[in-house]
């Protein structure tokens, strides 16, 4: 089914925004319920059945708060930062194929576009921290930059490895290349590269670091930096940052599912569809929550050591190995 062009555009715009909004709101609920389960608590229970209306109550609370801009802050950048964190996540979802015929735009450079927009997220958080004129926020901004420079490299190396295997940057084609059962998924493509599962783990670790999730949440680090770059944000300004964090997780996990786990392909080769994509996506999101409530926050040098001393050499090694394997077989 194909709608005429302007309607298609509008439908996808509304669809993507609704998807991101709903997910951002309810992933907060999932996170809180998940955290509670991991710590053997009930979690939110009072607002609605099983606390299901909690995100609405949170949003109502944040919306009713006064929007404050610190007197010394750079007003324009300060107000712009939350928008700049949220917008790239929405842009990235435009090219992500949810199903065989379900995707806003099938771009030939889809993968490149996702990473191009994905890195704006970092800059936006940095700008927000910088514009706040708050010492904690500025420390946090500096950390974010060095952290993301460190993790962008292994991430890109992993993606290059994958590009050599798939031979295309079109996400739809990458998924189609993995058709026919879970042994055809890139994560199990051991012929191209016997270390493919390791590649997936590196991607996942880098994704956690890029989205500033625990144990790499040096940006927020509430025990040292109050709330890091978000210290001066009140009301919905903070709320948008919060939603953007989940929107970015959503993008990162979608990409993980597409690149490594075969996107909307079924693991048995039959009945492929949107359901499989969502299942894989939410399994990865759950793992993100799971990781957060398992590991304590790393120290900053530990984080940089992990990237420069382990992830980058290993992913470089994998890159070389893959090129050799591709040449030989």
């Amino acid at each position: 089914m194909t709608l005429p062009e302007p309607f298609r555009l509008l439908a996808y715009l509304a669809g993507v925004m609704a998807f991101v909004g709903l997910n951002a709101a309810y992933l907060v609920w999932v996170e809180r319920k998940g955290a509670a389960r991991f710590q053997r608590r009930p979690g939110p229970t009072e607002v609605g059945p099983a606390g299901l209306l909690q995100p609405l109550a949170d949003a109502a609370k944040l919306l009713s708060k006064q929007l404050l801009v610190p007197p010394d802050a750079d007003r324009t950048l300060f107000r712009l930062a939350p928008v700049m964190v949220m917008a790239p996540a929405l842009m990235c979802l435009a090219t992500i194929p949810f199903g065989q015929a379900l995707g806003a735009r099938s771009l030939d450079l889809g993968l490149v576009m996702v990473f191009a927009f994905g890195s704006i997220n970092v800059m936006a958080i940095m700008l927000g921290g910088w514009a706040s004129r708050n010492k904690y926020a500025i420390i946090s901004a500096a950390r974010i930059v060095s952290q993301n420079v460190a993790y962008e490299i292994p991430m890109m190396l992993v993606v290059i490895t994958l590009l050599m295997v798939t031979g295309t940057t079109n996400l739809q084609e990458i998924v189609e290349g993995q058709a026919g059962g879970f042994w055809r998924w890139n994560v199990f493509d051991l012929v191209a590269n016997p270390l493919m599962p390791v590649t997936f783990v590196i991607y996942f670790i880098c994704m956690l670091a890029e989205t500033n999730r625990a144990p790499f949440d040096m940006a927020e680090a509430e025990s040292e930096l109050v709330a890091g770059a978000f210290t001066e944000y009140a009301g919905m300004g903070f709320g948008v940052f919060f939603m953007a964090e989940y929107a970015n997780i959503l993008v990162g996990c979608s990409l993980g599912a597409i690149l490594f786990l075969g996107g909307w392909q079924s693991p048995f080769g039959v009945f492929s569809g949107v359901g499989w994509f969502l299942l894989k996506l939410y399994a990865l999101v759950f793992t993100v929550v799971w990781v957060r409530w398992t590991f304590p926050r790393t120290q900053f040098y530990g984080l940089l050591n992990l990237s420069w001393k382990i992830l980058i050499p290993v992913s470089l090694g994998i890159l070389v190995l893959t090129s050799v394997m591709l040449k030989l077989f």
Binding site: A36, Q39, R40, V291
Partner: protein
């Protein structure tokens, strides 16, 4: 080189072990007592403020107004008044005031009581916005009405 390799693999294994442990906890029953909706049963030897006990047969107080507790109290927070009624062998209590702001729950009164008329209550929700609520707790009335003092609700 070998050591680095061992570090990385060993470290990764320990991370997986940690994740396995948290996942096991994930599926266990939660341990929270949903407090305002439910509360714990207090232990047998829990000491709330003292209360007078009525004789379960006659429904009258076991207290004989001997004032031993009044004398035994180190904080001087008990005031007992009693009188001897016509046709009764023992004195009976007419007034038993407890100043809970000074009571240290030492239990001397409970120990010294010759007729076992005092015991510790299991009230722990003793919160109020004014001190006056606790200066004079009328234990006779409390025992006769068979209910908790004006403060606090959740007796468990």
């Amino acid at each position: 080189m070998k050591r680095v390799f061992q570090d990385v693999v060993g470290g990764f294994k320990s991370l997986l072990t940690g994740m396995r442990i948290t996942l096991q906890q994930f599926f266990k029953k939660d341990v929270t007592v949903r407090y305002p909706h439910e509360s714990l049963k207090m232990a047998k030897r829990y000491r709330g403020h003292v209360v007078l006990v009525n004789d379960p047969e006659t429904g009258k107080s076991l207290c004989v107004a001997c004032k031993s507790c009044e004398k035994a109290c180190p904080s001087d927070c008990i005031v007992v008044e009693g009188l001897k009624r016509e046709g009764e062998k023992k004195k009976s209590v007419t007034d038993f005031q407890l100043d809970f702001t000074r009571c240290s729950l030492c239990g001397s009164c409970v120990e010294v009581c010759p007729s076992d008329a005092l015991e510790f209550s299991k009230d722990y929700n003793l919160a109020s916005t004014s001190k006056e609520q606790f200066v004079r707790i009328d234990l006779v009335r409390r025992a006769d009405e068979g209910k908790k003092p004006e403060t606090g609700e959740g007796q468990a």
